[in-house]
Symmetry: C2
Subunit: 212 residues, 2 copies
């Protein structure tokens, strides 16, 4: 679809643009200039124009950007115009928390199933959906056109489960397990390493404390 490869730095900023444009839209604001967005979002107007122009000319000289239009376009770029079928692997607290969070479904990320290997947990219902045993996972993925697997299992089992998922045709893995998964290039992995994030915060707390 696009000619040149877009850098992950740019991709990482798109959801934030999307969020702010959504807020402007909700406030009933119709047009916005890169300078106005710059003031609100605390990034340079230059970066905003540069980022958006990776995907096409969404603005108009002398006018700026139409909020609703730009919002929709970024939504499409992010792939939010189509539905994704997800499963959650690991019905622990975190898995259940994600499963219960309704906002993902509003954006088209539909949780189709949740799996766990603990017999105590299997069969229990979450939001009316039964937790399934792990040995049903592979057939479930194949039969229900599952795109994305959310990995909320301990690191010990994550590598093996990821391999199974790759084997049965998953396209993306949202990985909350504290390991780096090695998967073929065609599979997308997005990591959420919570403890890394907390350590970063810890670093910034100590470095600031000493500095001043």
């Amino acid at each position: 679809m696009e000619e040149k490869e877009i850098s992950q730095a740019v991709v990482g900023r798109l959801p934030r643009y999307f969020r702010y444009l959504g807020e402007l839209k909700d406030e009933g604001i119709e047009r916005v200039s890169s300078q106005e967005l710059s003031d609100i979002m605390q990034v340079t107007a230059s970066q905003i124009r540069q980022d958006l122009n990776n995907f096409g000319g969404f603005g108009q000289q002398g006018y700026g950007y139409n909020v609703g239009f730009l919002y929709d376009e970024i939504g499409k770029i992010l792939g939010l115009h189509r539905e994704h079928n997800l499963i959650i692997v690991g019905a622990g607290h975190l898995g259940q928390a994600l499963f219960n969070y309704m906002n993902f479904e509003r954006r088209g990320f539909i949780f189709r199933g949740i799996f766990d290997n603990d017999p105590q947990v299997c069969g229990r219902k979450i939001r009316g959906v039964m937790v399934r045993p792990m040995d049903e996972m592979e057939s479930f993925v194949r039969e229900n056109d599952i795109d994305i697997a959310v990995l909320t299992i301990p690191k010990a089992s994550a590598v093996e489960v990821a391999e199974q998922l790759v084997g049965c045709g998953i396209k993306g893995i949202w990985n909350f397990a504290h390991v780096d998964l090695r998967v073929p290039d065609r599979i997308q992995v997005e990591n959420v390493h919570l403890s890394d994030s907390l350590m970063k915060l810890s670093y910034n707390l100590s470095s600031r404390a000493c500095e001043k």
Copy 2:
């Protein structure tokens, strides 16, 4: 403590070094060269040496790095040698999931309390700890030497709660709410925007699908 400001790009890589060194240590490996680490971690040896040298010369020419020593040093740089007192604000599924996750406590991040404004939830016990009402939060932070607040509340209330926290002397905020908090420079904010992360994954799925 340090002379020059360390870039967040470097800080972001420290927890990963820490993790791999921990694994090597557990395997009983005593020394490692930047080249060996490079092979394992899939980053350049040059970057590893460059990163580490921001904090001092931890290696030895002709030998490499002592795994245990380097592990401890990075731990100290990350501030893991001292305890942090945390509270969780928002006892929903996510807040509870974080509260229940024991690995943070092992690293010295101790959850001292959990708060919620829902009277239905307050008074309930999680891991033997009572959920407290929000109006006790400020005095609790002051009296219990709380460093870090974990914000797992809806975006609507996050800005206001963050202001309260700043007012009663919090040092860092681990923000899971889907807003950008504006706080004074001395306060550190580390954002975990889960929906942004999922959108990035979605983008990468669509862009790859078209490309090939």
